[in-house]
């Protein structure tokens, strides 16, 4: 446990030192600024537009954090061969994987928290500017949605760790993780489309395709589970069991991926 913690701290520090962090922070700042400008273009649902833009900005920044900094953090050890040095310490390969994951997780959490503070200030400012157009806005639902953005990127971080444990090329990790992300945010639409009446009428959709999609839906994480933007945008109440299910789904998925990653990583040879 201690060594996992130590590795996580080192990984976190390494992440914070990464210069692309400034770029991502600048981008997020730009998006928040854009939000303040654009909000005035809308007639009445300014609260909804603000929440949409803020959560999407957080989500986009999180995506960049995981893909550029996270992938880098995982690949660096293998690329620069410092992995030999790390593994020569009394630390198992499984501990290495978990330590790396918690490091990235901590890094993403802290970065997103900082951005969330900025985002809250943006929302607060717009709330002061257009108090009449924030009907139904609720801070608690907004923060729940923001929290689930973090959960979403924890899952994505686990995917990055998983692919890094298989391949030594950071580009391949990036491509695989990006593909998983795109598939993950769209899989729900595809599954529900195939179940809908439209699909039944279209006779071209073969039975084997349906089975294939069914299998894929088990393997790929459904990222829409963590999407509460609509609820936050309109202040709609979120049922408690949805929060419980989403959180449980995310946690279990991360654990499985990390266990698989540890298993593969333990059997891997470095040259």
């Amino acid at each position: 446990m201690k060594s996992i913690f130590a590795l996580a701290t080192i990984t976190f520090k390494e992440g914070i030192r990464n210069r692309s962090l400034f770029g991502i922070a600048l981008l997020a700042l730009f998006l928040f600024g854009l939000n303040i400008t654009v909000a005035g273009f809308f007639m009445r649902d300014i609260g909804k537009v603000t929440v949409d833009m803020n959560l999407s900005a957080l989500s986009f920044a999180g995506l960049l954090l995981v893909f550029f900094v996270g992938v880098n953090l995982m690949a660096k050890d293998i690329d620069r061969k410092t992995i030999h040095l790390v593994l020569s310490k009394p630390i198992s390969r499984a501990q290495y994987i978990w330590g790396k994951f918690f490091g990235i997780q901590l890094f993403v959490t802290v970065s997103l928290l900082l951005l969330l503070v900025l985002s809250s200030l943006t929302v607060l400012l717009l709330l002061q500017m257009y108090p009449a157009y924030f009907v139904g806005f609720s801070w608690s639902i907004f923060y729940i949605a923001a929290f689930f953005i973090l959960v979403k990127f924890s899952v994505l971080a686990a995917i990055v760790v998983f692919f890094s444990s298989i391949t030594s090329s950071s580009l391949i990790t990036l491509i695989f993780s990006l593909s998983s992300y795109v598939a993950g945010v769209t899989i729900e639409e595809v599954v529900f489309y195939l179940q809908s009446e439209f699909a039944v009428q279209e006779k071209i959709i073969s039975e084997s395709l349906k089975i294939f999609i069914d299998i894929v839906s088990y393997i790929i994480p459904n990222f829409t589970v963590f999407d509460f933007t609509l609820e936050a945008a309109h202040g709609l109440a979120i049922a408690g069991n949805r929060i419980f299910l989403s959180l449980g789904y995310g946690t279990i998925y991360i654990s499985i991926l990390l266990m698989l990653a540890s298993f593969i990583f333990a059997r891997r040879e470095f040259n």
């Binding site: 007639m43 909804k48 537009v49 990222f223 933007t229």
Partner: protein, 293 residues
């Protein structure tokens, strides 16, 4: 001397860039005002393409549709049927992506019903919105207004207004208005009440301008109708022409129709304008329409 060569070249290139910049933007402006509205990706696909940012995409598409209309109306060119179809489809996609979004419904009411003369299309959107924005009184209010004002479906209108009046936040007079509608549908005064409410509830500059013009026209129509009423009570007959109201002293002058039409009087004593309160070039009044008032 050599040292200055790159700087000189840079200055020349920058100047050329300036020329091209101007040329490109000018040509884009022309292209945009001439091109047909274009294609909007059906929501079935854009839901997926949004990659989890459906809300943001709906904001963007809404803004695009609004800018499209704004651009056309500021350049003075009128929207043709194809353009309106684009707007209708856009708003449909926007409300598919986020059915709780209030702005597209408000825009649908302001533009589709008023400018495009497509109250049915507006109503379709409004009815879709009512399923989601269940506590928003404005949507049934708009649907009621369209049925009353454009479709002349007073009973349906009264039903919608009654629904609106039961929702929280709705103005108190809606209940009376709903009841009033059921009895005397087609009066300009009822329309005036409606319009004042619409105006109080809007902050879109373009729409406000249009509503104000309409309000002005209606106020003048009401003025004439009031004078006509007095004339009828006193003289026990209808004037042959509206100018008779002025010569008999019921009106100081016959007010101008802000839409540039001419006031007329129907056999049943209703006042109408040849402009039908639409910009003359947009649509011409047909006989059937004016007699149905």
């Amino acid at each position: 001397m050599r040292r200055y060569v790159p700087i000189v070249i840079l200055v020349v290139v920058l100047a050329v860039y300036g020329l091209f910049y101007q040329g490109v933007w000018d040509s884009r402006e022309q292209v945009r005002s001439n091109t047909p509205a274009g294609y909007i990706i059906p929501s079935k696909f854009s839901r997926i393409l949004a990659l989890g940012n459906q809300g943001l995409l709906s904001d963007f598409l809404f803004l695009k549709a609004a800018t499209f209309i704004g651009g056309r109306s500021s350049s003075g060119s009128l929207l043709n049927e194809e353009d309106w179809q684009y707007v209708i489809r856009s708003l449909d996609v926007v409300t598919d992506l986020d059915p709780y979004f209030a702005d597209p419904y408000v825009l649908a009411e302001g533009l589709l019903a008023w400018d495009a003369g497509k109250p049915e299309a507006a109503n379709q959107l409004l009815i879709k919105g009512m399923k989601y924005r269940t506590s928003d009184w404005r949507l049934p209010f708009f649907a009621g207004f369209n049925n009353f004002y454009f479709l002349k479906n007073y009973e349906v209108a009264s039903g919608f207004i009654m629904t609106a009046s039961q929702l929280s936040g709705s103005p108190a007079y809606l209940a009376t208005l709903g009841a009033r509608l059921a009895y005397y549908g087609g009066k300009s005064k009822t329309a005036l009440l409606f319009l004042q409410q619409m105006l109080a509830d809007t902050d879109d500059v373009l729409l406000i301008k249009r509503l104000q013009m309409r309000l002005q026209a209606l106020e003048r129509a009401v003025l004439i109708e009031d004078a006509l009423e007095q004339f009828k009570n006193q003289e026990k007959r209808l004037p042959n022409e509206l100018s008779e109201l002025v010569t008999a002293g019921y009106l100081i002058t016959l007010p101008l129709d802000p839409y540039g039409g001419k006031w007329g009087i129907l056999k049943n004593g209703r006042v109408f304008s040849t402009s039908k309160f639409a910009n003359a070039s947009q649509k011409k009044p047909t006989k059937k329409e004016s007699s149905s008032q």
